[in-house]
């Protein structure tokens, strides 16, 4: 437990009068009692499993048998495997595709819903719908659109004269899961960016316009720098959700064709819940957490560098 002298001296109410000694005692204890269930759940079922995950990742056997210690064997096995290298590449392609498509769309949508009065609320609600749709539901909607007889291949075939087999070709399968995820991700990004836009004082734009600044200059020097923090949060959240996503890809392609859309998340999903391969899936779980930390560090560096300027 962290405790600075200052905070222990002011233990109890943030403000307000200090009552009788008995009341003070209960007020010192009360916050701990109130937080006890939360702390218990977090430690027993989040922090402890994370620590166990590290342990299980060094074990070789599936549950039931006597576990054998294999050290970093599972990791060595994974990284030496072309299959897992493919999983990593698929994850990066998936993440890159989702960010490239969803972030500009989210910015655009955020500006649109922020700039108009009464009607903005309606469109904000409308644009948020993908975000409250279950991944498996949107997976069905997207499968319907891209499957052989669906509207997307039909239109494309009419335009190009070629066949478009979205769920059969590797590249088109990746494109399908990226489009689906970008569609699901942009609403949350839009919401966060719009919250940032709402904090920018209108006078900044007015004086910029008086100075003859172009739209682009206004965006470059006012809008973008002042929404940088919200953009950071949006990109970070979507990165982490996208890296760990297995539900929506599994529902659309099951990782196929072949391993084309089998990201690290989907591989973990299969190893853990279908093949019950605890050692390997724990190692993949550790790698997935590390991957998230790497991106967090990377974004923090970019954010820090931007603020230092």
């Amino acid at each position: 437990m962290e405790s600075t002298p200052a905070s222990s001296a002011t233990a109890g109410r943030v403000s307000g009068e200090r009552g009788s000694p008995a009341a003070f005692w209960s007020r010192t204890r009360l916050p701990y009692l109130l937080l006890a269930p939360t702390v218990l759940v977090v430690f027993a079922f989040l922090i402890w499993p994370i620590l166990s995950l590290l342990f299980f990742s060094t074990q070789s056997t599936p549950i039931g048998d006597k576990p054998t210690f294999v050290g970093t064997g599972n990791f060595g096995l994974l990284f030496a495997e072309a299959h897992f290298q493919g999983n990593l590449v698929a994850s990066l392609e998936y993440l890159g595709g989702v960010l490239v498509l969803s972030v500009p769309l989210a910015y655009f949508a955020a500006v649109l819903i922020s700039s108009r009065g009464g009607t903005a609320g309606i469109f904000r609600t409308l644009f948020l719908l993908p975000w409250v749709t279950a991944p498996v539901v949107s997976a069905i909607l997207f499968r319907t659109m891209v499957d052989a007889d669906g509207p997307v291949p039909t239109v494309l075939a009419a335009m190009t004269g070629k066949e478009w087999l979205f769920l059969v070709r590797s590249n088109l399968s990746i494109l399908t899961v990226i489009l689906h995820s970008a569609w699901r991700s942009f609403p949350l990004e839009m919401l966060l960016i719009a919250a940032g836009l709402a904090t920018i004082p209108m006078e900044l734009y007015e004086s910029a316009r008086v100075d003859g600044a172009s739209e682009w200059t206004q965006f470059r020097y006012i809008t973008f720098p002042l929404t940088r923090r919200q953009l950071f949060i949006a990109v970070l959240l979507i990165t982490i959700f996208t890296l760990q996503d297995s539900e929506s890809i599994f529902a659309i392609t099951r990782g196929g064709p072949g391993y084309a859309t089998e990201t690290v998340g989907v591989r973990l999903f299969k190893e853990a819940f279908i093949y019950s391969n605890m050692g390997i899936s724990s190692a993949i779980g550790v790698i997935l957490i590390l991957l998230c930390i790497v991106f967090l560090a990377l974004y923090l560096r970019i954010l820090g560098r931007g603020q230092a300027q």
Partner: protein, 267 residues
């Protein structure tokens, strides 16, 4: 200025189309005869697909399981979040800084934590039970929702509570008689947040249950994708039925819901 104005309407139209397209196409497909999903195919609207899925006995069971899991999760997470959120919003105490974990932990990939949890649930006999699924939903919702409720309670002016205590209310009495009634919108938003997340999730149920009888709705739909193949009329009808409850709740409570999300994630 005028062209700019109409351009922005065009942009709004395009984004609306991107957002609504998949839903509208799903609706159309669900109302057409099977094998009639082509782009230009038309034909009379009929409800056979809905009749078909609603007559399947397993759909009712999946819905019931989903209701049980979602209701139990909300009923347990919300009181925990009120207690924890109140403590964090109103008290200073040694160790409070650790509460930053509540916004860091939701970033840990849930799927990684599920792997060791399977082993524990087997040990305590909760593997392959709905209780195990509820537990997972509680665990992954609690940190963020405590933080969300903290935000709502912090917005309530402290003076109201102090007045109540002046009149002889204990801190817990003030929580029950002042804080909770005043944070009802926030609590509804938090409850809906948990409800939608739980209703939509199939990962935890997939990880912790093996019996088809224990499937929750989205997990059942995943099985439909596997077994019905390209019966897109039936699949889309089921998808739209599954989508309805969270969509309706969102549309009714969206204002509070959005406030809660922003309060939770941007502070």
């Amino acid at each position: 200025m005028k062209t700019r104005y109409s351009l922005s309407w065009v942009a709004i139209g395009i984004i609306s189309l991107i957002v609504l397209g998949p839903f509208l196409w799903g609706l159309k497909t669900s109302l057409m005869a099977p094998l009639n999903i082509g782009l230009l195919s038309s034909g009379r609207i009929h409800l056979d697909n809905y009749r078909y899925i609603l007559s399947r006995p397993e759909l009712g069971r999946y819905i019931l399981n989903s209701i049980k899991v979602a209701a139990a999760t909300v009923a347990i997470v919300l009181p925990m979040a009120v207690a924890g959120g109140y403590a964090l919003a109103r008290y200073d105490f040694p160790g409070k800084k650790l509460s930053v974990l509540l916004i860091i932990l939701p970033l840990v990939p849930a799927i990684s934590v599920l792997v060791p949890m399977i082993i524990y649930l087997r040990r305590i006999g909760l593997f392959n039970t709905l209780a195990g699924v509820v537990l997972a939903n509680i665990v992954f919702n609690t940190p963020f929702v405590v933080w969300m409720v903290r935000g709502f309670i912090a917005q309530i002016p402290r003076e109201i509570e102090e007045a109540a205590e002046m009149d002889g209310c204990s801190p817990l009495g003030a929580l029950a008689r002042v804080i909770i009634p005043l944070s009802v919108p926030g609590l509804i938003a938090s409850g809906i947040f948990v409800l939608i997340g739980t209703w939509n999730n199939y990962l935890y149920a997939f990880a912790f249950t093996t019996s088809p009888d224990l499937r929750v709705l989205p997990q059942g739909m995943l099985a439909f994708i596997g077994s019905w193949g390209t019966n897109y009329g039936g699949l889309n009808a089921a998808a739209l039925v599954a989508m309805l409850p969270p969509m309706i709740l969102f549309l009714i409570f969206q204002k509070w819901f959005i406030q809660g999300m922003l309060a939770g994630s941007s502070r």
